[in-house]
Amino acid sequence: MSDVNLAAPADPSTVKAPDEKRSLGTEWLRQLALPIAVLLLLGGFGLADQRILSTYNLLNIAQQTSYLALFAMAQMVVILTRGFDLSLGPTVSMVSVGAALSMAAMGGADANGLLVVVAAILGGFALAGLCGLFNGIVVAFLGVSPLVATLGSMNITLGVATTISGGRPVQGIASSFASFFYTGTVFGLPAPIVIALVVGLVLYVVLSRTVFGRSLYIIGTNPQAAAVAGIPVKRLLVYAYMLCSGLAALGALMMTARTGSGQPNLGGTLSLQSIAAAVVGGTSLAGGRGGVGSAVLGALFITILSNGMNLTRIDGYVQMIVLGAIVILGVVIDRLRLETR
C-alpha cells in the first residue's frame, strides 16, 4: 500500500500525457483507415488493368463520384439528425421533370441564355423545397418517424413526377443549361466536379463553422439536451430536410443536364444508394456522427468499386456479389476507427 502523499497532487493531465500521445498516433491511422482502403482499392484495380489509372478514367471516376457525392451529402445532412430521406430518389426524378418542363415553357431547346437556366433552377428548387418542407414538418412537428414520413413523401413525389411528365421524358433542354451544369469547364475541370467541390466545401463550412451546422450535430447526438439548451430543434429539423432536398435538386439538375432531357425515373434507386454511400463512408445512422468527408469518401468508394469492376470485366451478377462483400468489408475496416470508443 502506498503511503499518504500530501505533496502537491500530480496533475492527471500531465501524468497521463505520454499515454495519450501514443494512442494519438494509432488514432491517426485509424481515422485514415477508410481513405487508405479506397486508395488500396484503386491501386488494386490499377494493377489488374492499367486503363483504370489513366487520366481519362480518373476524371471519369471523379465525375461519376460528384453526382453520388452530392446525393450522399444531402442524405448525410438528415442522417446527422437521426433521420433519413427515402424520398430523395423520387425528388431527383421530380426535379428533373419539373426543371425540363419549366425550361420548355420558357422556350425549350432553342432558347438560349441565362433566363432559361434560372427558370429551370427556380422550378426545380421550388419543387424540391416543397418536398423538403413536407418531410421536415411531418418529422419535426407531427412527430412521425423519418422512415414513414419520407416513405410517404417518396410515394407522393413519385406520383407527381410521373403525372406531370405523363411518364415520358421531357425534351427541350437548353444548351445554356447543359453547359452550365454539364459540358462547361472551369480551369479544365468539368462543371459537375467543380459544382460538387464547391458544394462540398460550402457544406463543410456550414456544418463545421456555423451555428446551424453545430446545432445539427447536437440535435443528432442528444435531441433532448438540444431542446433544453434552447436550440430550436423543430425549426432546424425542417431546415435540414429542406437542405437535403435542395442538394438533391442540385444533383438532379446536374443529372438532367447530363442526360439532356427531363427523366421521370431518373431517381430510381438513388435513395438507398445515397444512404449506403453516406453510411459506408462512416456516417452513423444513430445521428451526430459524420460529415462531408464521410459522404464523399463513401461515394468515392462505391464509384471506384463499380468502375473498377466494369473495367476489369467482372460479370454482372458477380458484380452484385462482390459489391456486397466489399461494402461489408469496407465497413469492418471503418469500424477500426471506432474501436477507441
Binding site: L86, V138, L142, G143, V144, S145, L147, V148, A149, L151, G152, S153, M154, N155, I156, T157, L158, G159, V160, T162, T163, G167, T269, L272, I275, A276, V279, V280, S284, L285, G316, Y317, V318, Q319, M320, I321, L323, G324, A325, I326, V327, I328, V331, V332, R335
Partner: protein, 341 residues
Amino acid sequence: MSSTVALPAHNTSSASRDILHSLLRVGLLPLLLLIVVVGTSLMSPYFLGWLNVLNILRMASFLAIIACGQALVIIAGGFDLSVGAVVALSSVVTAKVMAALSTALGGPELLVAVLGVLAGLGSGFAIGLFNGLCVSRLKVSGFVVTLGTMSATAGIGLLLTNGIPVYGMPNSFVKAIGRSQVLGFPIAIYIGLAIVMVIAFVQRRTLFGRYVYAIGGNQEAAVVSGVSIRRHLVGTYVLSGVLAALVGILLTALVGSGQATLGGDTMMLQSIAAAVIGGVSLRGGIGRVEVVAVAALFLTILSNALNLLHVDSRLQPIFLGLIMVVAVALDEFSRRRMSSV
C-alpha cells in the same frame, strides 16, 4: 415512519393506467383500418367480395410474415434490408431443388416437396446466419451488413437462374401450398396467423423475446445483466431470414415458378414500413408483432382499395403516401395525447 405505506392514489391510477397503456400499444391503427374498410366497402361493391377478401388476407399474410421477422430485428436494434433478396433466393432455390429432384428421383412428390422447402428455408437460414454473425461478431451496423447481403443475395439468385423462371416443381406442391384451401381459406393465411401468434407469444413469454427487447432497449444494460447479446442478435436475423424464405416459398407455390425477381426492394421497404407503422421503434426495444400484423393488413388493404376505387394508377402513389403519413401522424398524436392524460 411506516415505510410500507403505499400511496393509495398511486395504486388505483396505476391500475387504470395499465388499461390505458395496453390501449396505447395498439394505438389508433385498428380504428383507421376499420374506417378504410367501411369506407371502401361503401364505395365499392366488390371490396367485400369473398375472393377479394381472400386475396387481401393472403397478401397481408405474406407481408405480415416478413414484417414479423423484420420487427424482431428492429426491436433488437438492427435492420434487415436483405429480406426482399432472400424472398427471391429462396424462391429460386426451392424451385431449382424441386425441379432437380423431380427429374432425378422422379417418384415421391411429397419427399421432393419437403426437401425443396427445406432447401429454400435453409437458404434463408444461411443468409440470416451470415447477417447475424457479421452484426454480432464484427459489430458492424446491421444496416450496412444487410445492405451488402442484399446485393450479394440478389446476385446469387440471378446467377442461379439468369433471370429465367424455374419450372418443374411437382404439381401437387403448387396445388397444395399455393392454390388449395382449408375451411375456405388459403393455407398461407393459416401460416401467417400461426406465425404472428407464435411470435407474439415468444415476445411475451419466452426468454428469447424478453432478451430481444432488452438488447434493443439498452444493450449495455443487457450486457451487465448477463444476457448473451451475440446469440440473441444472431437469432433475430436468422428468424428474419427464415421467415422471408418462407414467404418466398409460399409466393413460389402461388406463382407456380421460381423467380429471381420475386422480392426486390418493394418487399423490403414494405416490411420495414409495416413494422414502423405498427409501432416498432427504429431505436429498438419497443414493438409488438400483432400490431405489426395489423399494419401489414392496413397497407395491403390500402393498395387494394385504391385499385378497386378506380384511382388512376399514376395518382395512386400520391394517395398512398398521403394516407400513410396522415395515419401515422394521427396515431402518434393520439399516443402523445393519451399518455399525457
